[in-house]
């Protein structure tokens, strides 16, 4: 639940940041021009040297380079600003939230709540398909904006924590931080580029200027390049420091305004702590400043002091946490215990209840009692009808399937047209739409294979709603270790066509960790994946197994 920021403060904050942003950009452009001048003077001096040049000879050089750099700087600025949101999202690799997916739908709902709370219209909800935990916001020159989260984050945080993260990102959008930081990042990458070029040239001239006959170096050229390398290096450093300082200061502000939006500093602290203790995913270096926590973790991040303040684009997590916890009138110990309790609860819910009454029903099929089956197994078998006699395993209470409260919803789902238009590529019967790990996927009711749209397999990996017993995981491990040799000797299933687009599907090993052979559509715009019965579960089990500490 969010509380709208007072309208007055939203308007005022916008006005204030617009002014502040303008001055900051002015400062950035001045710096840009200054370093261009410095470069030009350095070139001029190192060609003609001090003794031939008076100060008055330098003025025209400075004037012309200033004009040139000003023009170039503005052109560059407008070029950076004209990058559309879609371009930037493509660069980060984010995809729009899928409304068939319950995790994505929750996230999209929170983003639309943030829309109503901030008064910013049309915030896109996007998802990064990585199991790391992080969140970001983006805004382009025209004001289109997006809030993004990774798959890992969506599966690890609950509603309150996720809404705190979304509130933090929405606060960034209100302050127009994302636009500023993104523009600064792009604008100053040019100095880094120049620096890299000169660095390369310097090494090059150092070796090529060596005169073999006299055993001396032609030092003139290498000095020129050295000076240029140093100057552009300083330019890169200073501009980078400024953009980092901007980003760092604004994190605190976004934390504060995010809290005044979601009114839940504890959830905000909890989400920050959870993200900071998990893998944050690997992102392009340029975009590091855009995320809620720096994805490229460094040792400096958590240290205090002059150097770490200079070189990191986020304030230390411990400092942010202590501010938030002071606000929530709580402390780190309480936070950690609350998290541990949550983990235990989740583990208890996910663990298959082996000791308790066996889950499932005996069903009277083909004139004999069979089972016990779980409700989903009964549905998938396709032979149960509403009038089938069933009996909860271990009891004697026989009833019609449709009269059993646990089984009734299954029939309602079936009646509501959940048969998919696509047919199973192996059995040729229509696939059935089922919910698996919060996503609507299509499953064959006979061979139990899954048809996954592109990007869905990545989501399955970061979620663990479905629990597996340790025997199953053990079996999967043994199976994996038995997989050796070339692909063609391992997989004897015939080649199939993609049920969606009819393109041929190719075979490939999912990863060295799982060794599972999956079929993927050769049409890049479709990208569907077919997992034969048990393959998807094996992938999930083996990845879960690798994540679980021994």
């Amino acid at each position: 639940m969010f509380y709208a920021l007072p309208a007055e403060t939203v308007f005022e904050a916008k006005e204030r940041t617009r002014r502040a942003t303008f001055y900051l950009f002015l400062l950035l452009v001045v710096l840009y021009v200054f370093f261009a001048d410095l470069l030009a003077v350095a070139i001029y001096l190192s060609i003609w040297f001090w003794d031939h040049v008076g100060l008055k000879d330098l003025w025209p050089v400075i004037l012309w380079t200033s004009l040139g750099a000003g023009a170039l700087g503005s052109a560059h600025f407008f070029h950076v600003r004209s990058k559309t949101l879609d371009d930037m999202l493509a660069q980060v690799g984010a995809k729009p939230a899928d409304d068939k997916d319950s995790y994505h739908r929750l996230f999209a709902n929170l983003v639309s709540e943030a829309e109503a709370a901030t008064g910013i219209r049309g915030i896109k909800a996007v998802v990064l398909p990585t199991p790391g935990c992080n969140a970001f916001s983006l805004q382009d020159g025209a004001g289109r904006c997006a809030i993004g989260a990774t798959e890992g984050l969506l599966s690890k945080l609950d509603r309150a924590e996720l809404s705190a993260v979304v509130a933090h990102e929405a606060a960034h959008l209100v302050h127009e931080d994302s636009r500023l930081v993104a523009t600064a990042c792009f604008l100053f990458s040019i100095f880094g580029w120049i620096n890299a070029v000169f660095g390369y040239l310097m090494r090059d001239t150092y070796y090529s200027s060596y005169d073999r006959r006299t055993h001396t170096r032609n030092s003139g050229l290498s000095i020129v390049v050295l000076v240029l390398w140093v100057v552009s290096g300083i330019g890169y450093l200073i501009t980078r420091l400024i953009s980092m300082a901007i980003s760092r200061e604004r994190e605190y502000l976004a934390d504060a305004d995010g809290v005044s939006m979601c009114k839940d500093p504890f959830a905000m602290a909890e989400s920050l702590d959870k993200i900071s203790r998990r893998w944050r995913g690997d992102m392009p270096d340029n975009f590091g400043a855009l995320f809620i926590l720096n994805p490229n973790e460094m040792g400096l991040d958590e240290q205090e002091g002059f150097f770490s303040n200079l070189f990191s684009n986020h304030p230390p997590v411990s400092k942010r946490l202590s501010k938030l916890l002071a606000w929530a009138r709580s402390d780190l110990g309480t936070l950690r215990t609350a998290e541990d309790k949550e983990d235990q609860l989740a583990a208890a819910q996910a663990a298959p209840s082996a000791g308790a009454a066996p889950p499932g029903f005996m069903a009277y099929l083909n004139n004999q009692w069979q089972g016990p089956y779980s409700p989903t197994q009964l549905l998938a078998s396709g032979v149960m009808v509403p009038t089938t006699w069933v009996c909860p395993a271990g009891s004697q209470e026989v009833a019609r399937a449709a009269e059993t409260p646990e089984l009734l919803p299954l029939f309602q789902q079936r009646v509501q047209g959940s048969v998919a238009p696509e047919a199973c590529p192996r059995c040729k019967v229509p696939l059935v739409k089922v919910q698996y790990e919060g996503v609507e996927v299509e499953q064959c009711s006979f061979c139990k294979g899954y048809l996954l749209r592109s990007g869905v397999l990545e989501r399955m990996i970061s979620r663990n709603e479905v629990a597996f017993s340790s025997e199953e995981i053990q079996k999967a491990r043994v199976w994996r270790d038995s997989q050796r040799g070339p692909l063609k000797d391992r997989d004897h299933f015939p080649d199939i066509k993609c049920p969606y687009c009819q393109s041929p599907m190719g075979k490939g090993i999912h990863s060295m960790l799982t060794q599972v052979v999956i079929d993927h559509c050769s049409n890049d715009s479709c990208g569907a994946i077919w997992c034969d019965g048990g393959e998807l579960e094996s992938i999930q089990m083996l990845i879960l197994d690798a994540h679980t500490p021994k």
């Binding site: 309208a7 709540e113 008064g119």
Partner: protein, 188 residues
């Protein structure tokens, strides 16, 4: 002599021009604030409509659940019908407040029903209802904020001199639903 008259005349003309410009700017500001208020109201309207659309789904979903707060459910249905058929604003707001109260109660007891918790459709609906209720809460808050801004400017001197003659009248704030303010009864 003639020059002096000319100077005075120009001076007066200048002041008159300044006044006209001031009048225009205040008028435009008032219009801007009023549009903001109307826009904010339409945002509330959108969310309330969305909630009306969700209620039949709710009834359909909890139908199979035995004794699911029958009374509250009926109240919500009646309030929805009243809100959709209301002819004046006061009746409508009262009915909408009743819906808010009823839904709040239903969502609070939702977790006590295992059948609802395990049903995918039901949990989707719960998420939609929660999200819509939240959105209604802060578009209402936002509405009150812009109304406060608008009311302030219509009463402030000297802009009230412009607001009065041009018919910018004050708007009413949205009040919290009555039951929300009731002190919860503690029973042992």
């Amino acid at each position: 002599m003639g020059a002096l008259v000319l100077v005075i005349l120009l001076f007066v003309l200048g002041i008159a021009l300044l006044l006209v410009f001031y009048l225009i700017s205040v008028y435009n500001q008032l219009v801007r604030y009023r549009v903001e208020v109307d826009n904010s109201w339409s945002q509330i309207d959108v969310q309330l409509k969305r909630r009306h659309d969700l209620i039949p789904n709710l009834v359909e979903t909890v139908k199979g659940v035995m004794d699911f707060e029958k009374n509250t459910l009926t109240q919500v249905m009646q309030a929805r019908a009243a809100a959709m058929g209301a002819t004046n604003m006061n009746d409508r707001l009262k009915a909408e407040n009743d819906i808010t109260n009823g839904l709040g109660r239903l969502l609070a007891v939702w977790e006590n029903y295992p059948t609802l918790k395990s049903n995918e459709n039901a949990s989707q609906l719960q998420e939609e209802l929660t999200s819509t209720e939240n959105k209604i809460a802060y578009v209402r808050g936002h509405y009150n904020d812009v109304v406060a801004n608008f009311n302030a400017i219509t009463q402030q001197f000297p802009s009230n001199l412009v607001a009065g003659p041009f018919g910018f009248t004050q708007r009413e704030f949205l009040k919290a639903a009555e039951a929300e303010k009731e002190v919860p009864q503690v029973k042992f």
